[in-house]
Symmetry: C2
Subunit: 232 residues, 2 copies
DNA sequence: CGGACTTTTGAAGTAATTCAAGGGGAGTGG
DNA sequence: CCACTCCCCTTGAATTACTTCAAAAGTCCG
C-alpha cells in the first residue's frame, strides 16, 4: 500500500503526469528509493549522467562550479521536481552538481530506463519537453535580469522567485521554507554575500523582510515587488 | 525535386533527424515556406506561440526585451536550427522575439501540427528533448559566466562561442559569418557597447582580433582562449 | 554628398567588490 | 550547564572595474 501511495504521487509529478495507472505501476516497480542527509551530494558535476531522480520530500540545490571554485546556484528543487535532466536529454555527464539542502527522500531511475520509457510513450517524452521548456524559460529570464538589472533588483527578484516556489504563509509574512544563507542568495543573484547582507539589512530596517541565520521571511511582498520592478 | 531536396534537408535537422523518409515527406507537405529580409521580425515577443520554424538559410537572432526597452540576445540561430521553442513546449506566448539578421529562408509549421507529430512519433519528441537539453546546457553556462566572470572574459567567451557556431576559416583567422555590431556583442555579454569597443580595440592592438563595421575576425584563437580562461 | 548608423576615445562618476575585523548563534563536548 | 568552536552574519573603509556622459570621427548607402 505504500507502493500505491507512490503510484499516486508519481501520477502528480511533472514527469509522469497523465500516464495511465498500469504504466505508473510499471514505472514504480522500476524505481529505487534513496535518502540523503542535509549536505550530501546527490549528483556530482562531471559524473556520467546515468540517473534521474524525482524529489519526494526535502529540497535540493542544483549548482555549477567553475575550475577555480566559484559556484552558481542554478535552481532549487522541491517535491515533485526532477533532478538530473542531463540523463533525460541524453547528455554524457552532469553539467552541475545537485546537493541536498534538507534531509531528502528521492525516487530514482536509470537513464536507460527513462529513455526507453520516453521512446515507448510519447506522452512522457512530451512531459519532458514541457518541463525542459519551463526550465529554459526560467533561466532565460534570469539571464536577462543578470544582464540588465542592478544588484538590489536582482536580489529582490531572486527572493520573490524563491518565495513563489517555496514560500509558506505565516503571520509574519511569506517564509522561505528551507535554510538559505546570504552566500546562497549571492550565488543566485550574481553578487557577493556582503552586498546581500547590506541589502537585507536595509530592507529589514524598512520592515520589508525579516531575516535570521539562514532564514528569510518576506514581510511586505508588495514593497519587495516594487523594488524588483523599479527602473535602475 | 525541390521538394525532394527539402526532405533530405529536413532529415538532417536536429528536429527531424532519424525520421523515416515517408514521414519526412508528410512533414514536408504540412510545412510552409517563408522568407524574411534582414531586420524583419520573425516572431514577436508576447504573441501567441502558434508557429515553429526551421532555418533553411540565413541567420536569426533570439532576443528578450524588458519593459523599459533593454534588450538581451539569447542566441543566434543558423541553418538547421529551430526557432519558436515555446510552440514546441506548449507555451502560451513567445517569451522573446526572433529577428532576421540576414535575408532568411525558413520552413514553418503550426504549433498544433508539430505537437501532433510529437504525440504520434516519440522519436521526434525525443529529438525535441535533446535539442532543449542542449539549449539548457548552453544557457546554464552563460548564466555562470555572467555571474562569475569579469567583462573581458565574458566578451572573449561570447566571441569564441560565436566563432564556434558561425565561424568560417579564412587566411586572416576565423571570421564570424554574419554582421555583428559592438552593441550586439554587448547585449550578449551583459555590458555596454563602449566597453566592448574598448576591449576589441585593445585586442586588435595585440593582433588577437581584426574588426570592422559589424565584422569580427578572430586572428589568434589561442590567445583569445587564454583570455577567456585566465582567472579574474 | 548628405544623413543615418556605427564606432572610438576621453573624462567623470559610481555601484559594487574587495579587504579587514569583529560579533553572535547554534551545536558539541567536557 | 558552561565553554569552546565553527559558521554565519554585519559593518566600515578602501579600491576598482565598469558605466555613464559627451563629443567626434568613420563608414556605408541612397
Amino acid at each position: 500500500m505504500e507502493d500505491q501511495a507512490d503510484v499516486e504521487m508519481l501520477g502528480r509529478t511533472e514527469l509522469f503526469r497523465g500516464a495511465p495507472v498500469d504504466l505508473l505501476r510499471d514505472i514504480q516497480r522500476a524505481a529505487f528509493r534513496k535518502r540523503f542527509s542535509a549536505g550530501d551530494t546527490v549528483l556530482q558535476q562531471g559524473d556520467a549522467a546515468a540517473t534521474v531522480y524525482i524529489v519526494v520530500a526535502g529540497r535540493l540545490r542544483a549548482t555549477q562550479t567553475t575550475l577555480d571554485g566559484q559556484q552558481v546556484i542554478i535552481r532549487y528543487l522541491g517535491p515533485g521536481e526532477v533532478a538530473g535532466y542531463a540523463a533525460l536529454a541524453g547528455g554524457e555527464t552532469f553539467p552541475g552538481a545537485v546537493i541536498a539542502v534538507d534531509d531528502c527522500h528521492l525516487i530514482g531511475w536509470s537513464a536507460t530506463a527513462i529513455q526507453e520509457l520516453m521512446a515507448r510513450h510519447a506522452g512522457i517524452a512530451i512531459n519532458v519537453v514541457k518541463l525542459l521548456g519551463a526550465r529554459y524559460l526560467d533561466i532565460q529570464v534570469r539571464l536577462r535580469e543578470l544582464s540588465t538589472e542592478k544588484v538590489e533588483r536582482r536580489i529582490a527578484h531572486t527572493i520573490l522567485r524563491l518565495a513563489q516556489q517555496a514560500g509558506r504563509r505565516t503571520v509574519r509574512g511569506i517564509e522561505i521554507v528551507f535554510p538559505l544563507s546570504r552566500q546562497d542568495l549571492a550565488e543566485m543573484s550574481g553578487t557577493t554575500l556582503h552586498t546581500v547582507s547590506r541589502t537585507l539589512s536595509a530592507w529589514e530596517e524598512r520592515g520589508i523582510v525579516a531575516c535570521g541565520r539562514r532564514r528569510v521571511v518576506v514581510a511586505k511582498p508588495p514593497l519587495l515587488e516594487a523594488i524588483a520592478e523599479e527602473p535602475d
